[in-house]
C-alpha cells in the first residue's frame, strides 16, 4: 500500500480499549483521505441524527495521502464529526505539524468513540498508545496545557482544547502547536464532551512512495510553480493573508459593523501592509510549506512575539466591530487561541451582540453593568471573549454563537450566518458567486469550501464580473469540488492559487501509483461533496437552509463601490442545483449518485 500508512487507530474512551484496523486501500483511494475519507469513515459508523455531545458521537482525526511526504504543504489534518454549532457534517482543517506527525506515528486516522469518565489525554508514540489522566490539564489555557504536555511527552506534537471546548461552547476550536486551529464548526466542544483534553503524537515512520523519482520531479515542478506565482511566491509570503484587508475594503465588500456597511474608512490600520511595517517579526510557516503565510508578531504577551492574526481574524475584530486597532486584534487572536475559540465565530458573535445592543435588545442591566458591548468599544473585546470562553455571566449566552444569541432575543436575522455558522469576511452582496457558495456550503457559512473571491475580486485565474450571475453556478461547483479534493490530500488550499487539478492528480499518482487524470480527481471531489450533502439531509438539514441572512437578500448595500446591491440567490440557486445534477428541491438524484458511486 503506497502513500497511506495502512492503519487506523481506534480509541474507545468509555471502555479504554485501543485497537488498530487495516485501512481499506480501495475505499481510501475512492475518497482520497482527509475530508473525503474521514467523512466516509464517520458516516459508516454514526447515525446522522446523533446528538453531537452524546457518547455515541465519534470524532475522526485524519491526514491525507500526501501528508508527511515531500510535497509542498503536506502537513495538514482534518477533524470530522457532527457539528454542535450547525448540526451539519463538520470537517475542520488545521496546519502546523501535527497532521504530518500522525502519519510519522504510523496512522492514517484516529477514530475516537465513547466518553471518558474523567478528563484524559491520548499519547501516541507509534505502537505505544495510552489513555492518560488529564485532571491536572483540565481548565488550563492552550499555552499552559501544551507546555505541560510537552514536558510529559518530550518530542511530541501537541493538540489540545482550551476552556471553551471543555465547557462545550459551540464555537470551540481544536488547537495544535499552540496557535494553529481546526477552528470552525465547534469541533473542540465534541472533544470536550468526551472529556478528552489533548492528543500528543510522535514517531519516525514514513509512508512508502510508489514512484520516488517521479514524486521528486513533480514536487520540484510544483514548488517552482508556487515560487513563481505572484500570490504564493510574493503577496502571501511578504504580507500574509492580511494583505486582503485593503483589496476587499476597496471593493466595498468588507463587512463592517455586523454587515451593516461594506466599507471601513480606517481599515488600513489593520492591513497586511501595516502589520508588515510595524508588527511583523518573522514568517511562521507550517510543515514543508514554501509559502509561509503565517505571521509571528510583536506582542506584550511575550518578548519573543506570538502567532499573528489571519485576515478573517483581523476583519472580525476590527471592521466587523467598528474598531481599527491592530493591537486589539493581536490580543483578541491570542485570547481566542488560549481559550480555544474559533476567531471568526467568536468575533462575529460579538458583532451580533453589538448590533443587538445598538437596537436595544441587549441592555446595560443584562450585562450587569459590566463593560458595554457597543460598536467601537475596544475595551469590550478581550473582556467578553474571556467571559465567552469561560462561560461566565452573559458570556454563557455568547458562548453559544451568534445565531443562538440572536434567536434568544427572537431576532435570528441579526446573526450573519448560514446554517448557524458565521459568515467570513466578504459581503456577498457584491460577490454574487461567493454568496451562492456560502448558501450551499455543506458546513454552513464558510469561505474555504469554494473560494470564489479568487476570480470575482482577485482576478485569479481570470477576472469575472462580480455582480454578473452568468456562469457562477458552474464556477461554484468546480471550486467546491476541487476544494474537496485538496482538503482530502493533506495539502493546503492556498496551493491552489498556483496549482490546478492536474498537479494534484500528478502528485497523488506518484505517491499512490494511480493513473488519475484531472477529471478523475474532480469527480472524486464531486463524490465527496455529495457524500457530505447526504449526511446533512439524513441529519435533518433541509435544503431550505441553503440561504443567506435576510439582510443580504433584502437590504441594499448602503454605500461604497457595492452601493445598491443585494444578493440574488433566488436566481442562482436553481441553476446551481441543476449544475450539480440535483432535483429542483436541492436533493441529489439517484442518477447522479450512481454516477458518483454513492449508491
Amino acid at each position: 500500500m503506497f502513500g497511506y500508512m495502512g492503519k487506523i487507530l481506534r480509541v474507545n474512551l468509555t471502555t479504554n480499549e485501543v485497537t488498530t484496523e487495516d485501512l481499506d486501500f480501495e475505499l481510501a483511494k475512492k475518497y482520497i483521505g482527509g475530508r473525503g475519507l474521514g467523512t466516509k469513515l464517520y458516516m459508516d459508523e454514526v447515525d446522522p441524527q446523533v446528538d453531537p455531545f452524546a457518547a455515541e458521537n465519534k470524532i475522526v482525526f485524519i491526514n491525507g495521502p500526501l501528508s508527511g511526504t515531500a510535497t509542498p504543504t503536506g502537513g495538514r489534518y482534518m477533524v470530522v464529526t457532527k457539528s454542535p454549532l450547525t448540526g451539519c457534517i463538520a470537517s475542520s482543517n488545521s496546519g502546523g505539524e501535527w497532521g504530518a506527525y500522525l502519519k510519522y506515528a504510523g496512522y492514517d486516522a484516529i477514530i475516537i468513540e465513547g466518553k471518558a469518565s474523567l478528563p484524559v489525554y491520548i499519547n501516541i508514540d507509534e505502537d505505544k498508545v495510552e489513555i492518560l489522566p488529564a485532571l491536572d490539564l483540565w481548565g488550563k489555557y492552550t499555552t499552559e496545557a501544551s507546555d505541560l504536555l510537552a514536558e510529559k511527552q518530550p518530542g511530541s506534537k501537541v493538540l489540545t482544547i482550551g476552556p471553551a471546548g471543555e465547557k462545550l461552547s459551540q464555537m470551540a476550536a481544536i488547537m495544535n502547536e499552540k496557535d494553529r486551529a481546526a477552528g470552525r464548526s465547534g469541533v473542540g466542544a465534541v472533544m470536550g464532551s468526551k472529556n478528552l483534553k489533548a492528543i500528543t503524537v510522535k514517531g519516525n515512520l514514513k509512508p512508502e512512495i510508489a514512484n520516488v523519482e517521479g514524486l521528486k520531479a513533480v514536487t520540484k515542478e510544483c514548488r517552482a510553480m508556487l515560487k513563481e506565482n505572484g500570490v504564493t511566491g510574493g503577496g502571501l509570503p511578504t504580507y500574509g493573508t492580511a494583505v486582503l484587508v485593503n483589496i476587499i475594503n476597496e471593493h466595498g465588500v468588507y463587512p463592517t459593523k455586523n454587515f451593516q456597511e461594506g466599507v471601513d474608512p480606517d481599515a488600513e490600520a489593520v492591513s497586511g501592509e501595516t502589520m508588515t511595517e510595524k508588527y511583523l517579526i518573522k514568517r511562521n510557516p507550517c510543515h514543508h510549506c514554501p509559502i509561509g503565510c503565517g505571521r509571528w508578531v510583536k506582542s506584550d504577551k511575550s518578548p519573543d512575539g506570538i502567532g499573528g492574526p489571519e485576515y478573517e481574524t483581523l476583519w472580525v475584530f476590527a471592521g466587523d466591530l467598528g474598531i481599527d486597532d491592530m493591537e486589539v486584534v493581536i490580543d483578541a487572536n491570542y485570547w481566542c487561541n488560549e481559550l480555544g475559540l474559533d476567531t471568526i465565530s467568536a468575533g462575529a458573535t460579538l458583532a451580533a451582540a453589538m448590533e443587538l445592543y445598538q437596537r436595544g435588545y441587549i441592555t446595560d442591566e443584562m450585562l450587569d453593568d459590566d463593560v458595554i458591548l457597543k460598536f467601537g468599544n475596544a475595551e469590550s473585546v478581550v473582556h467578553w471573549l474571556k467571559k465567552m470562553g469561560n462561560r461566565e455571566g452573559f458570556g454563557d449566552l455568547l458562548a453559544r454563537g451568534s445565531y443562538r444569541l440572536a434567536d434568544f432575543f427572537g431576532v435570528p436575522e441579526y446573526s450573519m450566518s448560514v446554517k448557524k455558522q458565521d459568515l467570513p469576511a466578504y459581503d456577498p452582496r457584491g460577490i454574487q458567486g461567493m454568496g451562492l457558495q456560502y448558501a450551499t456550503s455543506n458546513r454552513g457559512g464558510c469561505h474555504v469550501r469554494g473560494y470564489l473571491i479568487s476570480p470575482e475580486i482577485l482576478g485569479l485565474p481570470e477576472k469575472l464580473d462580480r455582480f454578473d450571475l452568468s456562469g457562477k453556478e458552474v464556477w461554484a461547483k468546480v471550486f467546491q469540488d476541487l476544494t474537496a479534493v485538496i482538503d482530502s490530500t493533506g495539502l493546503c488550499l492556498f496551493t491552489s492559487f498556483a496549482l490546478g487539478a492536474q498537479q494534484y492528480a500528478d502528485m497523488l499518482n506518484e505517491v499512490l501509483g494511480t493513473e488519475w487524470t484531472a477529471e478523475d480527481v474532480l469527480l472524486a471531489g464531486e463524490r465527496i461533496w455529495n457524500l457530505e450533502k447526504l449526511f446533512n439531509l439524513e441529519a435533518g438539514i433541509s435544503p431550505e437552509e441553503d440561504t443567506l441572512p435576510p439582510r443580504l437578500l433584502e437590504e441594499a448595500m448602503p454605500d461604497g463601490p457595492t452601493k445598491g446591491w443585494v444578493h440574488k440567490l433566488d436566481e442562482l440557486l436553481p441553476l446551481y442545483y441543476k449544475e450539480r445534477g440535483w432535483d429542483e428541491d436541492g436533493i441529489p438524484t439517484e442518477e447522479r449518485l450512481e454516477k458518483l458511486g454513492l449508491l
Binding site: 483589496i247 471593493h251 482577485l458
Partner: protein
C-alpha cells in the same frame, strides 16, 4: 485638478501609499501606470472611480476629474 492613486502591497515600495497626479482630460489608467513605472502584467486588480473589471479594459477607461484609481499586485489569502 488632481487625481488620487492608491497603491497597495509591493506597489508602495518607492512610491508610497497614495500618489496625487495632475488631472488632464481623457487620461486613462494606462497613462497613470506608465508614469508610475508599473506594467499591466504586474497588476492583478484595478479599480477606477469605484468600478472594477478586467485589468486591460479598466486601463482604457478615462478617469474622472477628482477621481481615483486603486492598483493591486497579485494578492490572496482567506
Amino acid at each position: 485638478m488632481s487625481i488620487k492613486i492608491k497603491l497597495f502591497a509591493n506597489f508602495r515600495e518607492g512610491r508610497g501609499k497614495i500618489v496625487e497626479m495632475d488631472y488632464t482630460p481623457g487620461m486613462t489608467g494606462q497613462d497613470v501606470i506608465d508614469s508610475l513605472g508599473i506594467t499591466a502584467p504586474e497588476i492583478a486588480a484595478l479599480i477606477v472611480d469605484g468600478v472594477d473589471g478586467k485589468v486591460d479594459a479598466m486601463l482604457a477607461v478615462p478617469i474622472k476629474e477628482d477621481g481615483y484609481m486603486a492598483i493591486f499586485p497579485p494578492v490572496a489569502g482567506g
